[in-house]
């Protein structure tokens, strides 16, 4: 099986690479690339994302044919894709970080700043928080409800259709921290930084 981590020059993907390498061992052929040909022929895709919504979308658009290739992979061919952090946020129609920016539009909704209740809560939301699982998800196989995951973000994805939400976390409000819609998976937290529970999530994705 070929798993591809999309390297589109947006932020630090070393940790994603390291954790997937740890889980994949020799079972899986892991590629880290922005080569659209390789992406097309892979079985699963990981879309990481760091920095702002706008900078990630801009970086994706800078690589010729990448957005179309991803769309064909995930939407037309319905093959498994995991978005992490801003990688998940980009599934939305629109984001408001830096400037109003159009997202990929794969799951209807918007990405806006976490309401920190006029400074009552610090932003970014950084650290370990519990996830409250909302629906059965293949990603959470063997993961206990209220497991801790590592977060670092100031913006949140608000999907229109609440049935896509697979987990939420409690901060200044209930924040969507994981979505699943058919073959599309996304986590706001960083499984690659979430110790053994995070590695288990990665393993679940690889084993889909």
């Amino acid at each position: 099986m070929n798993v591809t981590i999309v390297d589109y020059q947006s932020g630090n993907i070393s940790s994603v690479k390291n954790s997937f390498t740890e889980v994949a061992k020799d079972k899986v052929n892991l590629e880290v690339t922005s080569d659209v040909k390789k992406i097309k022929s892979s079985d699963k895709i990981v879309l990481p994302g760091q920095g702002s919504f706008k900078s990630c979308v801009d970086s994706l658009n800078q690589i010729k044919g990448l957005v179309d290739t991803l769309k064909e992979f995930a939407i037309t061919n319905k093959k498994p894709l995991l978005g992490i952090c801003v990688g998940l946020q980009m599934f939305a129609d629109i984001g408001y970080e830096e400037a109003e920016t159009r997202g990929l539009g794969w799951i209807s909704g918007k990405v806006s700043k976490i309401d920190n209740q006029k400074g009552k809560f610090k932003l970014p939301h950084i650290g370990w928080n519990e996830i409250e699982i909302q629906k059965e998800s293949k990603l959470f196989k063997g993961i206990k409800n209220k497991s801790h995951m590592y977060f670092v973000h100031s913006y949140e994805f608000i999907p229109e259709d609440k049935s896509v939400i697979s987990a939420i976390t409690d901060y200044s409000s209930k924040i969507v921290c994981s979505v699943e819609k058919n073959n599309l998976f996304g986590t706001q937290f960083h499984p690659e930084k979430s110790d053994r529970t995070g590695l288990k999530i990665i393993e679940n994705f690889i084993n889909l």
């Binding site: 070393s14 760091q50 932003l123 950084i126 650290g127 519990e130 670092v152 930084k193």
Partner: protein
């Protein structure tokens, strides 16, 4: 609910841990990779390396350590010490660091914080502030491990780095560092109240109660400590169980 973080810090000099962990199971007490692994296996919420190598030429040594550690530890890794340029940050992140901590360079030129957070995202830019009390309710920023006075007000500077995109502040009290008499809670309180980004408390921990004070009285989001963990006085687990017993939420 967001948990309060416990962060062990390892001082690294020329590739070796200076204040090593005194655990019997260690093969090599000076190996930072092995020590980081022990901390991460025992529940540390993050790992921090502080490179105190004096020379500039030795960047490659810390980078190699980060590279090896990142392959074995799957919790966030912060690296500080000698971060002066965008290239320094790029190198550390590529090696597997999740955050870098900037100290002297941020004081010299706060635009560097701005530039770095724009380029890499606020999530990976920590500004380390070393502060010393100069009079009642007044603290000043010091650089070069507390040797150089800058004349900059610590509280004003904290606000300034927040405005420039720092994701977190790592606040060390130079008066308390190494004394084992507890954090400078007044300083912490001032900084946590005047900024809206997470503050990591550092400098002075001698007992588990000090960790409690940093979080509950000082308002810190995370507590960093070195020697109480290194010498095996307390394990990370002890610290977490203690805090938990006092109703401070931690990741158990």
């Amino acid at each position: 609910m967001l948990k309060n973080r416990i962060i062990p810090c390892l001082d690294v000099k020329d590739g070796r841990v200076v204040k090593g962990i005194n655990f019997v199971e260690l093969k090599d007490a000076g190996d930072p990779v092995e020590q980081a692994k022990i901390y991460s296996d025992s529940g540390a919420d993050e790992i921090c390396f502080l490179d105190i190598t004096a020379s500039n030429e030795n960047r490659e040594t810390i980078i190699e350590i980060v590279r090896k550690t990142a392959k074995e530890c799957f919790v966030p890794l912060t690296v500080g010490g000698g971060v002066r340029t965008i290239q320094n940050i790029t190198d550390l992140l590529l090696a597997g660091a999740d955050k870098v901590s900037i100290n002297t360079s941020a004081v010299k030129n706060v635009d560097f914080v701005n530039e770095a957070s724009k380029k890499f995202g606020s999530q990976c830019i920590v500004v380390a502030i070393d502060a010393k009390k100069v009079s009642d309710n007044k603290w000043e920023v010091f650089t070069h491990g507390g040797r150089n006075k800058t004349g900059i007000d610590a509280i004003k500077f904290a606000k300034q780095v927040e405005e420039n995109g720092a994701g977190e502040i790592l606040l060390t009290s130079m008066d308390k560092d190494g004394t084992k008499s507890g954090y400078d809670v007044d300083l912490l309180k001032k900084i946590t109240k005047s900024t809206n980004i997470p503050v990591i408390a550092s400098g002075g921990v001698g007992t588990l109660d000090h960790l409690y004070d940093g979080i509950v009285k000082g308002g810190a989001s995370a507590v960093l400590a070195a020697s109480i963990f290194h010498y095996g006085e307390y394990k990370i687990k002890d610290a977490k169980e203690y805090l938990n017993s006092k109703n401070v939420s931690v990741r158990l």
